[in-house]
């Protein structure tokens, strides 16, 4: 018992020595007086250096279209198409939220509306995975215009013609 009490007392003493609470009670040093203002010395002109070349963002080249045979599409290809569908859908959703309804009309009219030709001049980005052709139409990863089936103000069936680039065939991607 005496040994245990002695051990505890020794540990407490050791802790007190290590903690050294009396040092915390010392006042902090007084702040140093402000330094006197120094006279600014003009910097010598920097030697002229050749201008750095302008940094232009390098966009990755467009991904090549997936193959033309549905049965030979890789998992990555199919995921890429699904992502493209998702992105168009999200863009339409953003538009519908802002303008209280989907854009209407032909693909070109809908694309123009997404890009700013709308009542609020809301300009959305081209959905990743899609491109715009010369006719101003938003196109799927194969370069075929998306088909927008306008069901209601908030519901748009979205259809990609798929690898055969013909709409309403078995290889279409539809959401």
């Amino acid at each position: 018992m005496k040994v245990l009490a002695g051990t505890i007392a020794a540990l407490l003493l050791l802790g007190l020595v290590l903690w050294r609470p009396w040092e915390d009670a010392t006042p902090p040093p007084a702040p140093a007086p402000p330094a006197p203002p120094t006279k600014a010395t003009p910097k010598p002109p920097a030697p002229e250096l050749p201008p750095e070349p302008a940094v232009t963002p390098v966009e990755p080249p467009p991904a090549p279209p997936p193959g033309n045979d549905l049965s030979k599409l890789t998992k990555e290809d199919i995921q890429r198409i699904r992502d493209a569908v998702d992105n168009v859908e999200l863009t339409l959703r953003d538009y519908a939220v802002a303008l209280n309804g989907n854009p209407v009309g032909t693909n070109a009219e809908i694309t123009a509306a997404l890009l700013g030709d709308n009542a609020k001049q809301l300009k959305l980005d081209i959905p990743a995975g899609s491109t715009i052709n010369a006719a101003g139409e938003l196109c799927d990863p194969w370069g075929t215009a998306w088909f927008f089936h306008q069901l209601s103000a908030k519901k748009m069936e979205l259809r990609s013609a798929g690898p055969d680039r013909k709409i309403y065939t078995d290889d279409d991607f539809v959401r």
Binding site: N102, V104, A108, Q150, A153, I167
Partner: protein, 501 residues
């Protein structure tokens, strides 16, 4: 006896009546809930003639045929002669050969020649008989709109053009710029239902069913502020499943129980009225069905069955004591993005040809049925020669379709051609001034003066003008037309002239 005591005594009497009548109150709630499910409880007590004013002395019926999905009327009415070359060049595989189009010879001359789709001989016959007219390029508009105005966004347009559900609503409400609350048929009914019967407060003699009747379920067209649509199936009014006379009496007695809550009381009345109206309608149908064989058979399928039911209800109109009726029927499948034509782009087969063929047969059979009912004076209260000139049908649809082919069909358009039929065909007395074309046929040119940009016709006649012309014939006076059609004043022709008022 104090008022409270009187109320208590009345309540006790009601309880005694109730217990004496049904003997088992436990089944009450279950039966009521079945009633709610079975009846939809659409018909309104208000719709049964608690109005004021003079009564109609004649009978008239309007029958709306809605073609769900957007009918490609470019192939319903086909240009012949010089215009056919333009038509064929743009429609390509959707082309109906000129030699196959069923020629019509309108009394008026707009410089073009026309024919119906080859599967529509009934429409051709009705047109030539002066019982059918066509209205070209009609659609929902907020203001008269030209191509330049459309492209430069110079005038407001109906919202969500080219979308199915929105265009259906626009057609049926005729107020595209307001939230859809009522349909134009319902608003006509609101105005006219007080005139259904001169003994309007008499529960025995007043009209037995609502002015608006749908054979095709709920619709916006027949929704009024006070008048609601009465739903009928192709077999008649919906009744309690597995009912007997005793069970029906039980339900009606429960419904008629006095309730301390006014809403519950009114609700009970509605249930009771619904059951009564259904029973009366079925009774009227049974009376007219006995020994009844249609001279011209209706086509098999939904549209034929729906129009047959309309004809049967019209045959029973006297028992129902109605003077004005608005009917709604519909046919689906017109959203022909693909498979519009048959194999090998056969103009005589395929989805669209099938739909048009059925439409033509159904309209032909319906018109024949009305004439048969009118001529049959052997059945008391059924036949009446005047009836042949009292029933008018008309087509409506979401929109027209693109004029160019998409390869397999056509896509969503805007303006479209429609049909109005009925009447006796007499050129001086017929209800429909038939054998004529109305409106302006579009210039068949992509990027032409009538095109938005890809063969979607910009309507040259508004739905308001189309609908108001029929509402005027039906009995809405000129002072109330702007109430029913608030935007009518924006357009040039509140009466297009195809109805004889």
């Amino acid at each position: 006896m104090s008022t409270i005591d009187q109320d208590r005594a009345r309540l006790l009497r009601s309880r005694r009546d109730f217990l004496r009548t049904i003997g088992g109150a436990a089944m009450g709630s279950a039966v009521i809930s079945t009633t709610l499910r079975d009846f939809r409880l659409i018909n309104s007590a208000l719709a049964q003639g608690n109005g004021v004013g003079g009564a109609f002395t004649d009978y008239k019926a309007l029958v709306c045929i809605f073609l769900n999905g957007g009918n490609d009327a470019n192939n319903l009415i086909i240009p012949k002669g010089a215009q056919h070359a333009n038509y064929a060049a743009i429609r390509q595989n959707l082309t109906i050969p000129e030699s196959l189009a069923l020629a019509i010879t309108p009394l008026n001359n707009d410089g073009n020649q026309y024919g119906f789709h080859p599967v529509c001989p009934q429409l051709q016959s009705l047109f030539q008989a002066g019982k059918l007219a066509t209205l070209f390029n009609v659609g929902p508009l907020l203001f008269p709109t030209s191509r330049v105005q459309y492209q430069k966004k110079l005038v407001a347009l109906p919202p969500q053009l080219f979308s199915h559900s929105d265009q259906v609503t626009h057609w049926q409400t005729s107020i595209p710029d307001q939230p859809p609350r009522t349909g134009w048929g319902g608003r006509v009914a609101d105005y006219l239902h007080p005139y259904q019967n001169e003994l309007l407060q008499d529960p025995v003699s007043r009209a037995k069913i609502a002015l608006c009747t749908s054979i095709s379920g709920a619709n916006t067209f027949e929704v009024g502020n006070s008048v609601q649509q009465f739903h009928v199936s192709t077999s008649g009014a919906v009744t309690l499943s597995g009912t007997s006379t005793a069970r029906e009496a039980v339900v009606r007695n429960i419904a008629k129980l006095s309730q301390s809550n006014l809403q519950a009381d009114a609700y009970g009345d509605v249930i009771d009225n619904a059951i009564a109206a259904g029973a009366t309608l079925n009774s009227a149908l049974t009376d007219t069905q006995t020994g009844w064989t249609w001279n011209t058979p209706f086509p098999s399928g939904s549209l034929g069955d729906q129009l047959k039911m309309v004809a049967r209800i019209i045959a029973g109109r006297n028992k129902l004591q109605v003077k004005r009726q608005i009917f709604f029927v519909s046919a689906g499948g017109y959203d022909t993005h693909t498979s519009q034509m048959g194999a090998g782009d056969d103009a005589l087969t395929g989805t669209h040809a099938g739909l048009l063929g059925t439409l033509s047969q159904a309209i032909g059979a319906f018109q024949a049925a009305i004439e048969q009912i009118a001529a049959d004076t052997t059945k008391p209260g059924v036949g009446d020669p005047a009836l042949a000139n009292s029933v008018v049908g008309f087509t409506t649809s979401d929109f027209g379709r693109t004029f160019p082919t998409n390869g397999q069909g056509s896509d969503h358009g805007w303006g479209s051609h429609h049909l109005i039929f009925g009447g006796n065909g007499n050129p001086t007395t017929g209800a429909v001034i038939g054998k004529k074309t109305y409106g302006t046929f579009p210039v068949l040119q992509v990027n032409g003066p009538d095109d938005t940009s890809t063969g979607r016709w910009i309507p040259t006649t508004s739905v308001d003008e189309y609908s108001a012309t029929m509402a005027k014939w039906f009995g809405v006076d000129a002072a109330h037309l702007p109430v029913v059609f608030p935007n009518l004043g924006r357009f040039a022709n509140p009466d297009l002239g195809f109805m004889r008022v």
